[in-house]
């Protein structure tokens, strides 16, 4: 192509145009570079830091729970958890995740959404407590699952043969309200929901640690950031030492199996709970880790309410087990003395006839306790309410631990009912109640409700010569540095209880075991036992059996209160249970296996949940 003058001119212009054009283009790009690197530096530099460093929470090991002999009651075992960081998670990997874990796609989707709504860039638990096989499958496929990670955590383990369902309590994931109110929890954290796990939650949970790790774009941790100098090591939870005796507990649970009721055994000098059983109970280990939904629904739907702790929450009239206290109150109020006799002709006439079980003839207070004479206590109650009033009686009852909270370190305790005039006015209506309602209270029937724990406390007050103990399951807690802290309240003297009155009542209770209704099953050959049976009248069905007991008679070490619902007379239902526990406690073995076998086979009347 010939290059003409015209074309040459044109070429020169084109060169200039192109040079200007590329100068402009490079100026724009350099300007953009300056804008980004100098003016936007402060915006993006922190983003890049955040991109590469992630704060990881390191969960502490939860504190352990031991029994009184140092045996482990609640420990931790490894549990494998799949976690998710929603920011990096790719929804299209849900099918793969579903296949690997054997979980429904919808379930995973729901949990992913939950994690998202909690936090987009923080790690949350997706699946808790998966099997080791699933865990390793997921681990192998992590590269295909951005945003998914895994961690090994602890879950509660129960190495002893006892269940201690209600005392130990179960754990569950924190609720949204708890998350919002406390900075100590993250989504998916477990929190003690009942029992000791709940009461001692602040001690047991420990302090979370923080780990700063360098991560890559797939959210995979590459290693500690800055050799971990910024990391905060987690602090394991504090170990707590309970007063429970595993062997005694095992006997109590075995004997209660298949029945409905509660047992409390405690040390009358300190209030330390030695055994506490409620039946039916449930298996805490099935609620640890990943919640077994079907089991949870099962125990919630069960009409026998296994989650209900009968040893501290079942309110029943105490029946004749209230008689020793009645004697103490009567003597203190000066209505009777040790020698005062009341004649029993098979009942007490006052407006109407109040029946006794048989003709006892002349009875002192000691004899009345031994024979469980109703007439004596009808008459006594009549005098109490007429001469001093119902409210005086109620106050004194409260002092022994009935109708008030005990202050035990356990959840779901009820106060029980010891009525006063205000109570009757409220429940029955003003002037709608009368002497009959009050006289019945004298033998522990009617509008009265006490729990096995309360009966144990009031019995302890008799056994320890007038001290009100604060029952407790935990004797001390041990911090990581080895320091221990005792958390036991000392017993409080009940000032109106007189030593000579107590002696009388104690003798009566001793006689009740040696010669009275407790002689068949509760009387031990080598250990002097004192006690009192009781039968709470149940207008809806079979009566409830009570038995309160303590031993040794002269220097008590143990108090046991047993309530067996719908089991009939306390002397043949509740007393053998206490007797067997006494044998286990004092001999370390069962010496009367036939009684033990009889109680294992014992079938109470059917429990009707609507009428109890």
């Amino acid at each position: 192509m010939p290059i003409t003058e015209n074309e040459s001119q044109r070429t020169q212009t084109a060169v200039i145009v192109l040079q200007i054009l590329i100068t402009a283009i490079f100026a724009i790009m350099f300007g953009r570079l300056i804008y980004l690197q100098i003016f936007q530096y402060d915006v993006y530099s922190p983003i890049s830091e955040r991109n590469s460093i992630r704060q990881q929470i390191v969960n502490p090991a939860r504190g352990l729970i031991f029994d009184r002999h140092g045996n482990l009651l609640v420990g931790n075992e490894p549990s494998f958890t799949i976690t998710i960081t929603p920011l990096n998670f790719d929804m299209s990997s849900i099918p793969l995740l579903s296949k690997l874990t054997g979980t429904e796609k919808e379930e995973i989707e729901r949990r992913v959404m939950e994690a998202r709504s909690y936090s987009f860039h923080r790690e949350s638990r997706l699946l808790r407590d998966v099997s080791f096989e699933v865990f390793s499958d997921v681990q192998e496929n992590l590269w295909r699952l951005p945003g998914i990670s895994h961690q090994v955590e602890g879950k509660r383990s129960y190495p002893t043969p006892v269940r201690l369902s209600h005392a130990l309590g179960y754990m569950a994931e924190v609720s949204r309200a708890e998350l919002n109110s406390s900075p100590d929890y993250r989504m998916g954290d477990l929190i003690g929901r009942s029992g000791l796990e709940r009461i001692y939650e602040p001690y047991l949970r420990g302090e979370k640690g923080t780990q700063f790790v360098t991560i890559n774009a797939f959210g995979r941790a590459l290693g500690p950031f800055n050799e971990g100098i910024l990391d905060i090591t987690p602090q394991r939870g504090v170990n707590i030492y309970s007063t429970l005796d595993t062997e005694l507990q095992r006997v109590a649970e075995e004997l209660l199996a298949g029945k409905v009721g509660g047992v409390v055994a405690l040390n009358p000098k300190t209030g330390a709970i030695l055994a506490m059983a409620s039946s039916p109970d449930y298996d805490n280990s099935r609620l640890a880790g990943r919640l077994d939904r079907s089991y949870w629904q099962e125990i919630n739907a069960d009409s026998l309410t296994p989650l209900f702790n009968r040893s501290v929450a079942a309110m029943q009239p105490p029946g004749s087990t209230t008689k020793p206290l009645m004697g103490l109150i009567g003597m203190r109020l000066g209505l009777i003395s040790e020698e005062t006799t009341i004649f029993c002709a098979g009942g007490y006439q006052r407006g109407r006839f109040y029946r006794c079980l048989r003709h006892h003839g002349n009875q002192t207070i000691g004899q009345a306790i031994e024979t469980s004479c109703n007439t004596f206590f009808y008459a006594l109650m009549d005098q109490i309410v007429n001469r001093h009033g119902l409210n005086v009686w109620k106050e004194m009852m409260n002092d022994t631990g009935l109708g008030v909270s005990s202050g035990i370190d356990l959840t779901n305790e009820v106060r029980g009912i010891v009525p006063d005039s205000a109570y009757f006015n409220r429940v029955f209506g003003v002037r709608q109640w009368g002497l009959g309602d009050m006289i019945n209270l004298g033998i522990g029937q009617g509008a009265m409700g006490t729990t096995p724990l309360q009966m144990a406390i009031s019995t302890a007050a008799i056994a320890n010569n007038g001290y009100r103990v604060t029952p407790h399951l935990i004797s001390h807690i041990e911090f990581e540095d080895g320091q221990t802290e005792n958390i036991v309240d000392p017993p409080v003297r009940i000032d109106w209880m007189q030593p000579n009155h107590l002696k009388t009542v104690q003798k009566g209770m001793r006689k009740a075991v040696t010669d009275g209704s407790g002689r068949f099953y509760a009387n031990l050959r080598d250990v002097p036992v004192a006690g009192k049976t009781g039968t709470a009248q149940n207008p809806h069905g079979q009566n409830h059996g009570w038995f309160i007991t303590y031993a040794p008679f002269d220097d008590p070490e143990i108090v046991i209160a047993v309530l067996l619902q719908n089991a009939g007379f306390g002397s043949i239902s509740a007393a053998p249970v206490a007797g067997m526990m006494m044998e286990q406690y004092f001999y370390g073995e069962i010496r009367r296996p036939h009684v033990y076998q009889m109680m294992l086979d014992f079938k109470p009347a059917p429990f009707n949940p609507n009428n109890n």
Binding site: L18, Q19, F30, L36, Q37, N51, A217
Partner: protein, 414 residues
């Protein structure tokens, strides 16, 4: 004149400098502890091989008479088309693009080499047909056909990014061979209007008005002016129609995410956010070699190829990024100068073609990395990892060095 005074050291050194910057960046992008045992770990040693190979090719090319290239132009173009056709049927698919062909153990990406083939074919056509001028409708048609044939094949490969480079070549070549200013504007400015339609419709309208005015002033043809008005309106409406009616929401997000990454922060916007973060957090001095967290922790996608500029900017800051831009500027400015002073029209067209390919790649790639343009995956010349791409760009530079070296002898023959 001795050989070393005839040799264009400036062009060569900018080639070498850019290649070495690329090597350093690829080392950083592929040799960190995060990248061990990944498929990109071997990229660095291969790129060293590419660089040595490129240097040898450039040296050998210097010893070949420029007239040989004129004669090779058309056969080379046809060979490229043939291989491209083979790739359509026997190509290896990588990431949705079937543009690789396995030849004796090497993976050849013919679309890279075909850029030069196409430029050479156009240059040969324009210099062989002595009476060809651009006022001639036939000439323009032939040039369009020569460009659109490879575009068709590459589109069949599924590589729209590369076919865009070929299309963008059209206005540069036509302008260079004599298309009038008004028409040249009319070919280029609508792209700018379309771009601003996405970002800011008022700027697009202002540019449209300026274009119409410029066309009228330059051409003084009422019909053409009205035509330009129609073009402007069609572009604005067309882009709006595309965005709202034709594209699916996720496609639209992909287009729009470059200027507003929050539209789709974990899909299309992810790359944009991470690239911007990498560049911006580099600051003036950069985080240091192998210290870029975005790079080393692989927050950058395709960091050894499409987003390589982010690696440079993050680890070497404004200094490294600015140096890269400066070397590119030097190279292209030098190429334009050579093209302007060359006497042979084959060489002139070829060199401008090469400069155009470079500038198009740079605009698209850096525009993408700096979040000025939508994400379109094409390599940064000489710096991005890739054998076909690196060798193809090196051969282009080798050719320009050759034409410049033989400028006096070559000019006489034309």
């Amino acid at each position: 004149m001795t050989w070393y005074t005839k040799f264009d050291w400036l062009l060569f050194i900018s080639w070498l400098g850019l290649s070495l910057i690329g090597l350093i960046a690829i080392y950083s992008a592929t040799q960190g502890p995060m990248h061990q045992d990944t498929f990109i770990a071997g990229n660095f040693s291969r790129q060293v091989l590419h660089l040595v190979l490129g240097l040898i090719i450039i040296v050998i090319m210097l010893f070949i008479s420029p007239r040989a290239y004129v004669q090779l132009a058309l056969p080379g173009y046809l060979l490229c088309l043939f291989i491209a056709l083979l790739t359509v049927f026997f190509g290896v698919e990588v990431g949705g693009e079937r543009n690789w062909l396995n030849i004796a153990g090497f993976r050849l990406q013919i679309s890279e080499f075909m850029k030069l083939g196409t430029i050479l074919a156009i240059a040969a056509y324009l210099s062989n047909f002595r009476n060809a001028t651009t006022s001639n409708f036939q000439t323009i048609t032939v040039i369009l056909v020569l460009i659109l044939a490879p575009v068709g094949l590459i589109t069949l490969h599924g590589d729209t990014g590369t076919s865009l480079v070929y299309i963008a070549l059209i206005p540069f070549i036509l302008f260079w061979v004599g298309l009038s200013y008004g028409y040249s504007l009319l070919l280029t400015v609508p792209a700018l209007i379309a771009y601003f339609t996405i970002i800011n419709i008022y700027v697009a309208a202002a540019i449209s008005l300026l274009l119409v005015f410029a066309v009228f002033m330059l051409e003084k043809k009422p019909a053409l002016t009205i035509g330009s008005v129609v073009v402007c309106i069609l572009v604005v409406l067309g882009v709006q129609f595309m965005l709202t009616e034709v594209l699916q929401p996720h496609q639209r997000a992909r287009v729009e995410s470059f200027h507003d990454p929050s539209v789709d922060p974990h899909g299309a916007g992810w790359n944009v956010i991470q690239a911007k973060t990498a560049i911006s957090s580099g600051g003036i001095h950069g985080k240091g070699f192998l210290q870029g967290t975005q790079t080393q922790l692989r927050f950058l996608p395709e960091q050894q190829t499409d987003f390589i500029f982010c690696v440079i900017s993050e680890e070497f800051g404004l200094i490294g990024g600015g140096l890269t831009l400066f070397l590119f500027f030097l190279m292209i400015s030098r190429l334009i100068a050579i093209a302007g002073s060359h006497k042979n029209s084959f060489a002139k067209v070829t060199i401008i073609g090469v400069a155009s390919v470079f500038i198009i790649h740079i605009i698209v790639n850096l525009g993408m990395a700096m979040a000025l343009l939508p994400v379109i995956g094409i390599p940064l010349p000489l710096i991005s990892y890739g054998g076909s791409s690196f060798l193809s760009f090196s051969i282009m530079i080798g050719l320009c060095l050759n034409f410049d070296y033989y400028m006096r002898d070559f000019g006489l023959y034309s």
